[in-house]
Symmetry: C2
Subunit: 317 residues, 2 copies
């Protein structure tokens, strides 16, 4: 058992990510008491029943009182309001973090909401499943996954110590810690996560609206590739609405590039330019090899996923 | 052990699909002798070493001689040439089939190439992995997967019997048999397979060409959703070039719809229309539930895939 890093941890919003943090932190032995605030009465009931928290409340301030670490794990656009609700109870010297999938907007919202006496260190674990809610959480979710911290531009020792303590916390949970500028985070994630989700939502929506092909046929023959998109496109609607609203500029920029490239590809098909198609398809194959080499994937047909293994930022059923 | 359905089976093009058919047919006990023709010297060497064929040759005619079933499992645009090369040796009354991912073009090419005395029954198994070549094949690939047969428009008894015999063969291999008009097949698969592949190739290509984000970052944070696209975009370049050339019209039609929808989605993001996003994201979630209910997927995070389980039409590494 490791040493306790945070004697008291508060989790505000205890769904998939919030509850997974609690399970993982308890398994690692790095927290003492754990308090939870959740807006949903149904979730609170489940959290009580699951018994992994020492205090369950609807009031963020009650949960945050005396906490050494406060983790905001609500949808991105709800972060500001949740932080304002908890602010008055925050202990001077406490660390305030979050797990939101967009960082610039959240970082600003948190910083504005909380007193100067606490340390704001935003973060984003690149791990998730398609499930949501407190029943979906599990301790292994963050194992071997990246956690990106986007600390503020300050260099004073107490702040740097707070950042280091949070990095140690995530390391204890099994994650690999990376520090990054928040704007850069939002651009990188627009590419690796937000655009893929947008495209998946779109293609599944398009397929649903076709006249010539029935929904039954789409489902029946989904093993042809479509199936993978439906998994991504089953991600939590609230979470993803918020992501696109909060990371609008970067998403639209990357989407513009994607659309340009798609037009070129469409032209190549129209004019039967087989060589162009072959060249692109060969190039993309190499990228896959790179990802397998980077350890983010295995070459096995089961996709390197075992039951409950940590999965993409987002995989609802 | 079942009864032998085809005393002699020839497989022309013995990669992933061709070799899987041989493994599955032998396991089911529905074939006697098996002959193989493959254009690649390297593949022929591997096939000899693997020892699953009674005859291995470069010459399609030699393999097809005296065969009761001839299965063409080469890339879609190579079907016509392969069939012409084998035609002279075909036994009257033999069944000629294929496994190509596009049906109208292949059906026409096969029919033109072969003598009137044989029965042409095109087919497409909706099963595959991202691997290719004869080493990638395995007997369970077609278990519980659909095989779509697109018989010709003829109603004479000998032909209908040949179709039924081929359906029985695939049933013995573990597949569920469906009959469909070839044009309709090409439209359905444009939606469930060809467009998803095109989109995946495109997004991976776009990501590779960005200035602000390095390839290393794309790989590192690919678990955010991008990873799933890279798997699809690692599919065999030759096979997929041929699919897009052979199914141009249907692919461009569906791509047009996809692009329209994407523009509307882009506008909704630009104008921060959260309700529109939420509505679409909720709708697509239902489709996922339909696919799980249709038995084409499981709700488990491992995606219902166990080691070597049959996978989407296409999943190269
Ligand atoms: N899912 C992923 O794969 C993933 C990965 C990395 C990061 N993230 C980020 O993690 C955060 C949480 O995602 P999640 O997947 O854990 O979602 P989730 O399972 O839906 O959990 C969110 C929880 O927060 C509650 N909540 C919503 N607004 C609240 C508020 N104002 N105050 C208190 N509680 C509130 C929700 O209650 P209700 O049910 O009443 O709404 C729900 O119980 C999001 O910011 C997301 O961007 C998610
Ligand atoms: N992969 C899938 O997921 C999947 C699923 C359903 C249907 N299909 C269809 O199945 C067919 C084969 O795909 P596959 O995945 O099995 O490909 P594969 O593993 O690459 O095998 C194709 C084999 O055919 C050989 N070949 C190519 N042209 C030939 C010719 N003219 N004569 C004789 N042999 C030739 C290739 O040799 P070289 O190596 O020298 O080219 C290779 O050994 C394609 O029509 C594809 O559309 C594929």
């Amino acid at each position: 058992m490791a040493e306790i890093i945070y004697p008291r941890m508060a989790v505000i919003g205890c769904g998939l990510i919030g509850s997974s943090i609690i399970h993982a932190a308890r398994a690692a032995g790095v927290v003492g008491q754990v308090t939870v605030a959740d807006a949903s009465a149904q979730s609170r009931e489940r959290i009580e029943a699951l018994g992994f928290a020492d205090l369950v409340t609807a009031d963020p301030a009650e949960a945050a009182r005396d906490a050494d670490l406060v983790v905001f794990a609500v949808p991105v656009m709800a972060m500001g309001e949740a932080a304002r609700a908890a602010a008055s109870a925050m202990k001077p010297g406490a660390t305030i973090t979050d797990v939101g999938s967009v960082k610039a907007v959240v970082s600003e919202a948190l910083s504005e909401a909380v007193p100067d006496s606490v340390f704001v260190v935003p973060g984003h674990p690149i791990a998730g499943t398609e499930q949501s809610g407190p029943d979906a959480g599990f301790a292994e979710l963050f194992q071997n996954r990246w956690i990106i911290l986007t600390p503020q531009a300050r260099e004073d020792d107490p702040y740097l110590e707070a950042v280091q303590r949070l990095a140690d916390f995530w390391t204890a949970l099994g994650s690999n810690v990376e520090r990054m500028d928040e704007k850069h985070h939002d651009l990188v994630l627009a590419v690796t996560s937000h655009l893929p989700h947008l495209i998946a939502y779109n293609i599944v929506g398009t397929a649903a609206d076709l006249e010539g092909v029935t929904q039954g046929e789409v489902m029946k023959y989904s093993a042809g590739g479509f199936r993978d998109f439906t998994r991504i496109a089953a991600s939590d609607p609230t979470m993803w609405r918020d992501v696109f609203l909060a990371n609008r500029e970067a998403v639209l920029e990357i989407l513009g590039r994607f659309t340009e490239d798609l037009q070129a590809l469409s032209r190549a098909i129209r004019w039967a330019e087989g060589d162009k198609l072959f060249e692109l398809f060969s190039r993309t194959r190499e990228i896959r090899r790179g990802i397998i080499a980077a350890g983010q994937e295995s070459a096995e047909p089961n996709f390197g996923r075992d039951h409950r293994s940590a999965d993409p930022d987002t995989k609802p059923q």
